[in-house]
Symmetry: C2
Subunit: 306 residues, 2 copies
Amino acid sequence: MNQSVFDTLTLIGIGLIGSSIARTARERGLAGSLVICDSDPEVLARAEALGLGDRYHQDPADAVRDADAVFICVPVGAIEAVTCMIAPALKPGAIISDTGSVKMTPATVFRRHLPDTAHGIPGHPVAGTEESGPDAGFATLFDQRWFIATPPKDADQDAIARLTAFWEGCGSTVELMDAEHHDRVLAITSHLPHLIAYNIVGTVSELEDDTKTEVIKFSASGFRDFTRLAASDPTMWRDVFLNNQEAVLEMLGRFTEDLTALQKAIRRGDGAALFDRFTQTRDIRRGVIDAGQEIDAPDFGRHVLD
Amino acid sequence: MNQSVFDTLTLIGIGLIGSSIARTARERGLAGSLVICDSDPEVLARAEALGLGDRYHQDPADAVRDADAVFICVPVGAIEAVTCMIAPALKPGAIISDTGSVKMTPATVFRRHLPDTAHGIPGHPVAGTEESGPDAGFATLFDQRWFIATPPKDADQDAIARLTAFWEGCGSTVELMDAEHHDRVLAITSHLPHLIAYNIVGTVSELEDDTKTEVIKFSASGFRDFTRLAASDPTMWRDVFLNNQEAVLEMLGRFTEDLTALQKAIRRGDGAALFDRFTQTRDIRRGVIDAGQEIDAPDFGRHVLD
């Protein structure tokens, strides 16, 4: 067991990410005491039934009173309200972080609402599955994944070190980055892919019923890979797009330009242009595998289906 | 071991699909004798080194002389040339099929070039991986997959039955369909998803090198799922788009309309529209899993990366 990094850690929001942090912290002894908070009484009761923490509160202010660290694990759009509720109740020296996929929003919110005695450091565990809720979490979710922290320029070095120690204890590799840069990189690696996946699955959902049934039937030919991303939590993703509007629209613009060029090549029967484009993309796959971000197995190593 | 369906089966093109058919036919005794043909002498030599067949020919006419069945396993754009080369050498009663992802092209080609004594029945095993070449094939590729045959209206019933028996012997479920209908359904289940995957990976490949490195580093957040499809064989996919132009452009039109609506919702900050769209798509994922086309495991059941 590791030495605990925080005497008392409060998790606000106990969905996939929050409940995975709870399980990991418990298994690896990263927190002396775990306080769990969720605004939804049913979710909170479920967390208690699963034995995820030591104390359970519906009110965020009650939940953070003794906390050395508070992780806000809610959709990005709810971070400001939570921050306002906990700010007056925080212990001096408490570290406040979050787990959202957009980092400019918590950066602004923490600067605006946290007391000077608290250390606000936005964070993003680059991990997740298409599942949601406290039952979906698991203790190895962050193993061999990135955790990106975006501390403000004047952040307390000791606070950064403790947050880093916690996430390294979860098995993650910690990377420090500017919040604006994070949002630009994630716009293309994560936000645009989810938008496109949602979009094509949406296009299929509007086909006539007969065709839709056939698309599902023959989905192993490509379509099904998109359905995984498009099954992710709608609230979380709505908030991502509302909070990273500018970077997403810019990347979407590039994507659309390129798609228009491919469309034109198909319409004109320009085989050379298509071949060039389809060849250019293989190196990237190699890069993803070499970077240890993917398994080198055909078809994602899926087992044969029953 | 099954009873062999064909005394002599010739496979023209010994890439991923051809070599998987060879391995399956051998393991399950579906053909008395296996003749292998490839226009590339290196690929042919590799097939021989792997012991995939009983005889090896570079010339398609030589390869088909004794064949009861000939499967043309080449990119769709090469089917016509192969058909013209084998037509004069075919045995009366031979069954000619293919494995391309577009079915109108072989339908037209077979009708135009095959002698009346041959039975042309286009076919499509809905299976594959992102790998290519004779080393990439494996005997269980077609297990619990669909094989779609698109026989012409006047096709010989016995020939259809024998082709069906062969693919059922490979573990596939056989579905008969009109060639034009096939091309419309596959345009959305397979062709458009590959086009979009190639496109986003292409967009990334044109980013500045620094950003590209970071996109690869953080690709587990969504982008990497697209890289699998975009690593597929460029020649095969060029030919698919050139040969299924009309249906692909129609589906691409629908996709683009929907994407424009999402773009507008993001620009206007219309959270309700985004939420609605993202909710609508979950049923489709459920449908894909219920139809046995996907494993019900988070993250495709990927193992933790080393």
